[in-house]
Each structure stands twice: as C-alpha cells, then as structure tokens.
Symmetry: C2
Subunit: 354 residues, 2 copies
Amino acid sequence: MTTQIRTKNLSIHDVAAEAKVSIATVSRVINGKDRVAPSTRTRVEEALKKLDFRPNRQARSLGLRRTNTIGLVVPDLLGEFFSELMHGVDTAARDSNMNLMIIRAVDSEEEEAVCEEFLGSGAVDGLIFMISQLDDKAVHELARYKQSLLVIDRDLADLGIDNVLVDNRSGGYEATCHLIEESKVDHLLFIGGPEKNIDSGDRLLGFKDAVRRHDMKLEENFSFFTDYNYDNACAVAESIVRRIKSSKGRWGIVAANDSVARGVIDTLLDHKISVPDKVSVVGYDDSQLARLTRPTLTSVRIPLRELGRTALCLLRDRINGVRLEQSTIVFKGRLIRRGSSIHPGTTPAPQHES
Amino acid sequence: MTTQIRTKNLSIHDVAAEAKVSIATVSRVINGKDRVAPSTRTRVEEALKKLDFRPNRQARSLGLRRTNTIGLVVPDLLGEFFSELMHGVDTAARDSNMNLMIIRAVDSEEEEAVCEEFLGSGAVDGLIFMISQLDDKAVHELARYKQSLLVIDRDLADLGIDNVLVDNRSGGYEATCHLIEESKVDHLLFIGGPEKNIDSGDRLLGFKDAVRRHDMKLEENFSFFTDYNYDNACAVAESIVRRIKSSKGRWGIVAANDSVARGVIDTLLDHKISVPDKVSVVGYDDSQLARLTRPTLTSVRIPLRELGRTALCLLRDRINGVRLEQSTIVFKGRLIRRGSSIHPGTTPAPQHES
DNA sequence: TTGAAAGCGCTAACAG
DNA sequence: CTGTTAGCGCTTTCAA
C-alpha cells in the first residue's frame, strides 16, 4: 500500500499571503462570525475566490472538536425499510448541513464496538441506531454516550438515551379493527414475524386488544410466526388452507409485513380462495409491494421518513446542547385501505370459490 | 447553537505519561509499523488498555492527509437499485477498513459541488458516483480529480477516470433473443425508460441487434418511452391493448425495468390478455418485484453488489497508488427466466382469451 | 530503540 | 478591526 502523494494543498496561509492579511483574518471571513472591515473582507474574499480555496475539514474538526457528521448504524443496507429511514435522516442532515456516515453493525457486539470506535475517536458527533440489537449489558455500557446517541424503535428512556419509536400496538389494533368493523370477518389470524421480535409482539398485543374490544374470541391456534419473508409465509399459509376452506364465514389475517401478506395471499389464491372476499388480509409497512401487486394490499404505513427526519433533528439538538433532557417521540402508523381487504371502497368481487 | 463542552478527552500524551515513554513511542505501537522494544511495547499496550484509549481520527487524518473514508454520491437513497449497489460498496469498504459517507446530489451542479467540497477539503479520500448526471462541462472540470474518482454506469475512460459499467446492450440483446428463440414470439415491442436515458437506449440497441440477427423486422411503432414507473407503464400498455388483441400470433415485450414490466402485465391482464401465452414480457433489474409477484417476472439481473464491490476496490487501489492507469470493468447482466415469458421451464397455461 | 520537536491546517484567546 | 500565538492530537523526521 503506497502512500499517495497529494498535490500540494493550499492552506489558509496562502490565502492570507494573497490578501496580505493574517491567517486569523482569513479564518474570520471564512467563518463569517467575527467582524471584519468591509474592505479587508472584500480583499480576502477575492483571494479566496482567486485561489479557489477550501478549508481543510480535518483541521477544522480538530480545532472545533466537532465533525459535523453523524453516523447511521444499520444492521443492513438492503430493503425499503432502511432506505426510507435513511432517506428521512439524510434529508434532515442535508437541511442541517451535516454529513452522514453509514455504519453497518450486525449484532450487539458490533454495535457496541461501533459506538466506542466512532464516538470514542471523535469520528462523528453522534450516532443514530436504527433498530438496535444491543443487549442489556451493552446498552448500559453505552449509557455514558447518551448525549450523542439516538435509538430508533427501542425505548431506552430509562437510560437517558433519546429515542424515536413506532407504536406497533396501536398499528396492530387498527389493522385488526379494520378487519372486524369494515371487512366484517368472522375469524381472525395473526401471522407475525420471529417469535421474539418485539415489533411483531406489540402488533400481536394490538391484535388481541381489538379482538377483546369487539367481544370476539380468539380462535384456537390463531397466531403464527415467520421469518418475515415470503416463502416462509407461503408455508404457513399452506398449513391453514384446509381450515379456511372447510369453514363458514369470512376470515381476516393480520400479517407481520407486506412480504408475509403477499406470500399468504398468493398461496390462498393458488388454492382458489378468494381475497378479499373469503379472506381479507392486512399487511404492514406499506411497501412498494403493497402498491404494485394485485390485489393491492391494505397495509399499515409507518411514516419512516418522518421518523428519520425526527431522529436526526433530535440528535442534532441534543448534541448542540439545545436540549439537555432525554426525549422520546412516538409515531403512529396509518392504515392504507386497498384491495386485499373489504372496506367501503371495495367493489365486492364475485365469489369464485370452487 | 451552543457549543458543546466535551468531557475532556484522553490524548496520546496521557498514554505516554502512564507508560512513561514519549508520545512518539506510543504512536509507534499504535500503528505497529515501526520497531519498538518488546518490553516497552508491552508497557504501552497495557497503558492503552488501562486507559481505554482511542486515537483521535481528525488528528490522525490531518497528519496523514488521509481520512480512510470514501464518499458515495447518489441521486437518491430510495429503491432497491441503490440499496444493492450500496450494499456491495459497503461490504468491500468494511473488508478494507474504510468508512463510507453518503452524499446525495441530485443534478450535475450538485455533483460538481460535492466533488469540489469533499475532495477539495480532504473530507474523503475518494468519491464513487453512482449513476452520474454530470454534464460534459462538469465532467471535464472534474478530470483533475481523476485519481480519486470512480464513476459507475458511465464511460469516462477518455478522461482517465475509472469506471465500472453495465453492458446494457448485451442485456437488451439477451432479453430479446430469449423472447424470439424461446418464447417464439411473432411481434416485438420495446418499452423503455426516458427517451434520452442512456441505459435504456443501449438496451434498445441490443433489442434491435437481436431483431436484425434473427431476420425479423421491426414493427411499425415498436418502441415507447416511459418514466421508468408503474403508472406510466400502465398508460403505455393501455395504448397498445387493442393492437395486441386484434393481432395474430404471440407478442414479446422488453420492458425498461421491472416496474414497467409489472405495469404492462397488470394492464394486459386487466384486459384479459394472457401473460405469458399471448404476450411474453421481460423486465430488467430482477428486483424484488420480479420474484414476489404473479406471474413471476423474467428479468435481466444486473450483479449490482458485485458492481459495488468492484467499484470500491478499484477506487481504493487507485487512491493507494497500487494502480496508476485508468481502468474500466464491464459487467454483463444475466437473464433470469420466470413465469412472464414462455421458455423450456414454463408449463403452457390454457389460453383464455375472450 | 527512543525522544524532541516540527509540522498537518485551522480556531480562538489575547493583545494591540 | 487585525495580528500573534498557543493549541487541537497525531505522525514523522532527525538525533541521540
């Protein structure tokens, strides 16, 4: 690895020489804060322009103890979910003139290391964790960085860490109420994500809230777990086809996310079970899949971009000392009604069950 | 904006004091390059551990004139396309111990500014442009940064700038040949992206190559432009429904990307035109949409992650002076056969045209 | 093998 | 209003 020889860079000294002032003055006009006589200012500005000077970031950061960049810690770069979230964060960062660093960390250990490394070395001013897998021990370890940390989708208020949350319980509740009240289903099923996934668990709570609220009773064997993915969902759906076919009345299924919903729907359709007539399905996340497939998918939309924006703004303010105490903001999902469930806008399709 | 008071950070001096050596020695053991007596080394290492010391990045960068981070310039963070590409770049970056900065730039002007700002200020060691909209003027302007620039999907070899390309022409050719040879279509249509889009244009060239090669002749009005999106594609498809319905024989459609293909297919199905029997459709990009919708979509897969990896490695080597001359790597797409086109694996479905 | 000291390029007191 | 100067924290000659 040869070290590169950079073309000799300009420094503030060159500008100072050109404008016949001291470097302090140059610094002043660059930063625009201190007062400089109009005439000298002009001279410096001309020199700046003439030399096409651009102050060195590292040097500035070193002096200011501030990098103006924040790190985005994600377990994965793939998927609409992160794209949307990142987009939101990026938009806000751009508005605030901050830079974003992407940092992938796949487990608690890596996340902790990232924290130490990036915050400890002053590489970034703050870190946003999207969906953190941090275990409890690590979390406590990191509480000392609380002034420069923000965690999305995990409540760490106790530790004084800022967070931006999603109300999954109310989302699950909404989805289920919709199936009961509008789709008028008689039976309800919940096909969740991994068994221990908190998001999925909260949605299930909401599901149960709704069932209870409407004085329905839970089916036997009403909930299933998946890996949040299509194929897995198809398998689960396969296992309930017979139950549905041999039943009377309508069914409603609340799915962990849109891929799962899709898998369920495709499987049902393969078995000539009509969606939404025999079975109404609600997905979660309102992803592209929900809009671009047939039947279009009723889904709970999480305002991910807003979440991202908010996360950045919150962190920025905390870092800047604009706000000193911990703060938590909770976002609610919104149900987007589409073709996979019966509702006031659905044209009831002919039942073509065999 | 209050300036934050950081808890006083450790510096190399503290470690030096602790280990009773000079800061130079500490620096040496941290970097592991120079030789240090085993006993002192141990002492320093202990001090390092005891204090849990982490060298300041800005200071190091300032001295080394090297940040170890590279910037990823994208027009947009949304969409599978960029996710996949970024994922590839990130994987390679991680393997090379480099950090990634996300930089959004929406047009030529912004891209140019980014270049000046990030490269000029030494904020990053290099920049990867993904799909650059740089106009010719800007491109020439930036040629002076060629040692630290890599552009994906745009041939800038003339200027000495590294690039990683996708062979869209061969992709279009493959897709079209597939329709002709395997799906045995009689008529061919090309539904491209925006009229001036080069990728789309190249695919069209490949399309024509294939038509010529098979001694077919181009239909009248065989090519259409879209905005690369679903709704737009639906509109275009609407406009050709009648032509298809009133025709004899099979049709083959090469679409600009999967969303377009999807729009076309859904529209055709709405009009009870069978896909793939009456019309075989091939998409482009092999996105999630292609796999998770019915009929599944035959599509040209671009090895985006590989592209990303390669881009980073190339740039890294150029920056490190491992390689001095310009270099270009071209990737080819691969056709993934699925349900939207007839091929050896398709079970011919019953024709249910009205 | 180790240390002293001179930067790297910029900011910010402190004087004037 | 402007200049001098002392850092910021690390790397790297150059001597010892």
